[in-house]
Symmetry: C2
Subunit: 288 residues, 2 copies
């Protein structure tokens, strides 16, 4: 199971074409064909149907494995190379939209920082492969419980902040006057399902006792402003950390009192942060 073969397999599956994959990978069509044949012979099972080109059941299974595998491979290479290479003078920080609190911003150096707003899942991958030097992820958790992160690579995590969670409601909402809300009060509410911009409702699945939420509208993207505009317009409620939920025009933020979860943000980095990254880590961890 050569990673090269795996890589051509996933591109063939993605493009649904041997020739296209060959073009993208810089091989001849013949080579791609041989790669797939080699893989199929090695594993003893057909992976693709030809005409049309589509993964078989076994091939689907392999695809599920291939992504994380190639990611880990990249991560390993990046991690080792990072140890040897000179520390870059810049600093790249990957973050979710809701993880970047004022405390973190204060710890960043004045110049030379690149900020990159990504999806929750993309951040560990970015840090592992060296696309970003540091990562900030957030999510809902029981107080002082660590977040559940996909372990794409051996990364180091530090909790850097915890704060209460708020429900964002449009100003006219019947519950907008409350001082606190229990999740049970909101069982029948319409929610915005915005896993990448706000706090994902899926995190509450366990605490909720099995009752599924009714997502009114699914929002894919990382822009908080349009998301809050959607709740202001009455398209559904949103879960946000308190500090980012307050002061948004057309909305009211009400504290979530039950279940007892907090918005937790954690700092991620690879093996040995160097240069500016090390400095930021030191400052943030010392404070916590």
């Amino acid at each position: 199971m050569d990673p090269h073969l795996l890589r051509t397999y996933v591109t063939v599956a993605r493009l649904a074409s041997f020739s296209e994959a060959a073009r993208e990978l810089g091989y001849t069509q013949s080579a791609v064909s041989q790669h797939i044949a080699a893989l199929e012979q090695d594993l003893g099972a057909p992976l693709l149907t030809r005409r049309p080109v589509a993964p078989t059941a076994a091939g689907e299974r392999l695809l599920e494995h291939a992504g994380p595998l190639l990611l880990r491979l990249d991560a390993a290479r990046a991690d080792v190379v990072r140890m040897a290479a000179a520390p870059a003078h810049g600093l790249t920080l990957a973050t979710t939209p809701t993880a970047l609190g004022p405390g973190v911003l204060g710890a960043l150096p004045a110049a030379g920082v690149t900020l990159r707003v990504l999806t929750r899942d993309e951040i560990p991958a970015a840090v592992a492969t060296g696309t970003a030097d540091l990562g900030l992820v957030d999510g809902l958790a029981a107080p002082s419980d660590p977040l559940r992160l996909p372990d794409v690579a051996p990364l180091t995590t530090h909790g850097v902040a915890e704060e209460p969670v708020s429900v964002l409601l449009p100003t006219g909402h019947p519950l907008a006057g409350r001082t606190g809300l229990r999740l049970g009060d909101l069982a029948d509410a319409r929610w915005l399902d915005a896993p990448d911009a706000a706090l994902p409702l899926a995190h509450l699945r366990g605490a909720n006792g099995g009752g599924a939420f009714r997502p009114a509208l699914r929002y894919e993207g990382t822009d908080l402003r349009t998301l809050t505009a959607l709740t202001a317009a009455g398209h559904g409620l949103t879960l946000l950390p308190r500090s980012t939920a307050t002061g948004i025009p057309g909305t009211v933020a009400v504290a979530l009192t039950a279940p007892r979860v907090v918005h937790r943000t954690e700092l991620l980095h690879g093996g040995a942060p160097r240069g500016a990254a090390a400095e930021v880590v030191r400052q943030l961890v010392e404070r916590a």
Copy 2:
């Protein structure tokens, strides 16, 4: 980064010898030397010091990556091959000592079952690589919260049982008469640290509020009987699921009332269980 090179690297690091590694891998010493040289050139950093042979800082880092990586690779191969191969007539079930409740035993077929008691960490690996068809893992969790399992491969999990947690005390213990115990009552107690046989105390780290436990004796192994004998002899307390904690000579089981955690056991399997395994999965999942 050929997996072959990675494999020889880890064996060289493990054996601290090029020649020994060559013997174990069935290569010549020359080949091993060339493998390491190729890896070092590819990554642009020395990975091993020679004389004595030991990993450098970068090499240590690579070692951390290599294990999970090779494991995932095996898992991927096993998973795909499993789809194509005929369903084995036997059934191998990997389990922790405390996960095997009476409910599970009832669902097993009368003959053809191999039971394999392993460490918590070994079970996902065994299921992923096909060493076992099914796995049972257990641990402490908030009610109806899933366990935190290392994701070595895309595995499917089903919760199959939850039950209260008990503290196992020697009969003469001052707290043995209680009907329920809070963790705070036991802050000064001596605990047996037996992560592979009993429930690992580390799982309570978060709920405990930061106070570390004092492990009196560390027990490595998966035999429950000698472990319970140790607590009976007063060497320290043990955390067990209620059903396995009751009726052990020389000990008393007292319910743990706070924090509110349960002993949860989950069933693990790869992509598509076949034959006898599928039947067991169906039965256990339907019941839950």
